[in-house]
Amino acid sequence: MRISEQAKQENRSRILDKAAEIFNSKGFEDSTTRDIALAAGLAAGTLFNYFPSKETLAMTMVSEALVQGREDYLRRCTGREELAEELFLFVASGLRRLRPLRPFLGPVLERSLSPFPRKNVCQEGETARQEHLAAVQSILARHGFTEAPDYVAMTMYWSLYLGILAFWSNDTSPNQEASQALIDYSIRMFVQLISGSGADKGEADAS
């Protein structure tokens, strides 16, 4: 039976809503695509027409949240921010959109964004990574870094970002405020790294 494009969109969106509910209540590991399909009123096999795996389903939610986060960042950015401040705004806006997914995010991010070589690369995760890094590069370009940072710098950025995500998804402080301090420090560290200013052990500030 052929269904209309509108019905497809409605199914997709219902699957995502129900998946979020189920992931939140049972956790990512203990949820099955069958549970989700049932909750969405679909046959188990039909769900795979929309999302080939549980990982892709979860990572789609992450990608969509990150796209919204990027939109928020663009709306909130005044153009007067210094580099570290703008990067902070970008990362914090994304995390704010990811917040509703936080209870089940740890294993999803670990599987889909891990930098270690693995058999099945999650395409959604890879796309999210590339889009995130492209946004970072355009921020850097706006702050006078005319040449794109090399793979070493961007790999270091991505490691810091994954570290932030890992810490944040497990952060029990109110409003994840400990993560905010971590983002602040991590970004300052990255900016320091690509700016190439020498380590001063604090003397400059101490004087």
Partner: protein, 482 residues
């Protein structure tokens, strides 16, 4: 070439450090090993090195502070056997390293280092300057971070909540920073915002510091150190609760009226949370700008009187010690009022502490030597004056006499008198050098309150009828009770 330059600087700094560090230990007469340990730690690169306002034993002053701290700790295990010494040394190094990264204490530690480096020829001006730096700081926040705090606390951006909001902070505050803003009703306000997660950092640091120090000290004074560290942590954490500060602020407003000429800003509850505190903005300047206008003696005396009334009103009426002597907490207003802001570091005396505090003052006023000695023994955590070494009792008593001088003088008391202030400093230095530091934790804050207030008035070169004021305030509080 650069390396050689670096080495030269290092050698020079080592020499300066050696010069400043205390001498005399039988095991290490030149303090050479200690200086090496400190230099070694401070020259280690750590990843946080370049963050603004996070220091890592970088400056000489900071190293000197750490040096004295280490010297004091070492003196506690100088007789220990070699194995124990080595173990203790490792703990000491780790403790110093941690101490050096506690950024919120950076300003205070550097200033203390500056003072210690100049011992014993400390001048009153320097001492006053150091006292003004004894507060806790947080790293500065850029505006993007401020916005995140607002979204978490209010669910709205600062620009949405206020009619206007300055992106740049105009002042540092206890564990945060202050921005100017305007309410939609048009009122100007000061908005204090706390650095996210600072309470967590403080708790973790102090827990680690205690663990690292644990094996070093097994003496009775160790319990004293633990009690003081616990009290410092309690006060620091209290400073992180802006809700509590707002409550103090509201209470303080109630004890002054228009005739007092003392302004405590109004708290705007709707714009305040545990992490954000919004109060009325008081127009005026701080002490340095006030002094730059070359005020006459009359003006200096006027503000000295107001400061005395303000602090002793809080003491007698509310049993508070405003324990943060930072000059930024007092505003010289153009209309002649004195503004009091920031009640984050306010110690409320327990009933027992309140009675004890006044017994000591009364004994001194009555010239009751035995009563005073008993009070001193208790303050120094001894059961009886007879348990104290006579010299310890004498030194602490001299300090208390100094504290009581203004209370006992009829008429005008001149807080700008250099000789008077210097006597107080000499006493503190003597007590510290002789190791007579064991005391009840509350004395940390009462000393900070006394020295902070006196340093402020010394800087102001102000005078007032102190005895008359304290009697009025004590009588006013008693009348309120009946």
């Amino acid at each position: 070439m650069q390396v050689e330059d670096g080495r030269d600087t290092e050698t020079l700094q080592m020499e300066m450090l050696l010069d400043a560090l205390p001498k005399g230990s039988a095991t290490d007469p030149a303090s050479l090993a200690l200086a090496r340990l400190i230099t070694n730690i401070s020259n280690k690169k750590v990843p946080v090195s370049s963050f603004s306002r996070i220091w890592t034993l970088g400056s000489l002053q900071a190293r000197v502070s750490a040096g004295y701290f280490a010297y004091w700790l070492r003196s506690r295990f100088s007789d220990a056997e070699n194995k124990q010494r080595l173990k203790s040394e490792a703990h000491l190094a780790a403790a110093l390293k941690l101490f050096g990264t506690m950024g919120y204490m950076r300003g205070a530690v550097m200033k203390v280092g500056q003072l210690l480096a100049n011992l014993p020829e400390v001048v009153p001006e320097e001492f006053a300057e150091v006292l003004s730096a004894l507060h806790f700081e947080a790293p500065p926040m850029h505006f993007a971070m401020v916005r995140e705090v607002f979204l978490d606390e209010f669910g709205r951006e600062p620009e949405e909540l206020f009619a206007s909001f300055d992106r740049q902070a105009f002042a540092a505050a206890s564990l945060g920073q202050v921005h100017r803003a305007r309410l939609h009703s048009g009122e100007e306000v000061a908005v204090k915002i706390q650095y996210p997660g600072i309470a967590h950092t403080i708790k973790a640091d102090l827990r680690n510091l205690r663990l690292l120090l644990q094996p070093l000290c097994l003496t009775i004074d160790w319990q004293d150190t633990l009690a003081k560290l616990a009290d410092i942590e309690r006060m620091l954490l209290m400073e992180t609760d802006y809700g509590q500060e707002a409550a103090y602020n509201r209470k303080a407003r109630l004890v002054f009226n228009d005739a007092d000429r003392i302004a405590v800003p109004l708290v705007h509850d709707q714009y305040s949370t545990r992490r954000v505190l919004t109060t009325e903005y008081l127009h005026g300047c701080h002490i340095n700008d006030f002094l730059a206008t070359d005020p006459g003696q009359g003006e200096r005396d006027h503000f000295t009187r107001l400061l005395t009334v303000a602090t002793y009103r809080l003491y007698y009426r509310l049993h508070w010690l405003p324990a943060d002597p930072h000059p930024g907490n007092f505003i010289f207003m153009a209309d002649g009022r004195l503004g009091m802001i920031d009640f984050g570091c306010t110690l409320t005396l327990s009933d027992e502490e309140w009675v004890f505090s006044n017994e000591a003052i009364q004994a001194a006023l009555d010239k009751d030597l035995q009563g005073l000695n008993r009070a001193i023994a208790r303050a120094c955590r001894f059961d009886d004056p007879g348990d104290m070494e006579p010299d310890r009792l004498e030194v602490i008593r001299q300090g208390f006499y100094w504290f009581m001088e203004p209370w006992q003088q009829e008429g005008i008391f001149d807080f700008g008198d250099r000789a008077f202030f210097l006597r107080g400093i000499d006493n503190v230095i003597e007590a510290t050098r002789k190791g007579y530091t064991r005391s009840l934790p509350m004395t940390l804050w009462s000393n900070r309150f006394t020295f902070g207030g006196r340093a402020f008035c010394y800087k102001l070169k102000g005078r007032c009828e102190f005895r008359k004021i304290f009697k009025q305030e004590a009588a006013g509080a008693a009348a309120k009770l009946t």
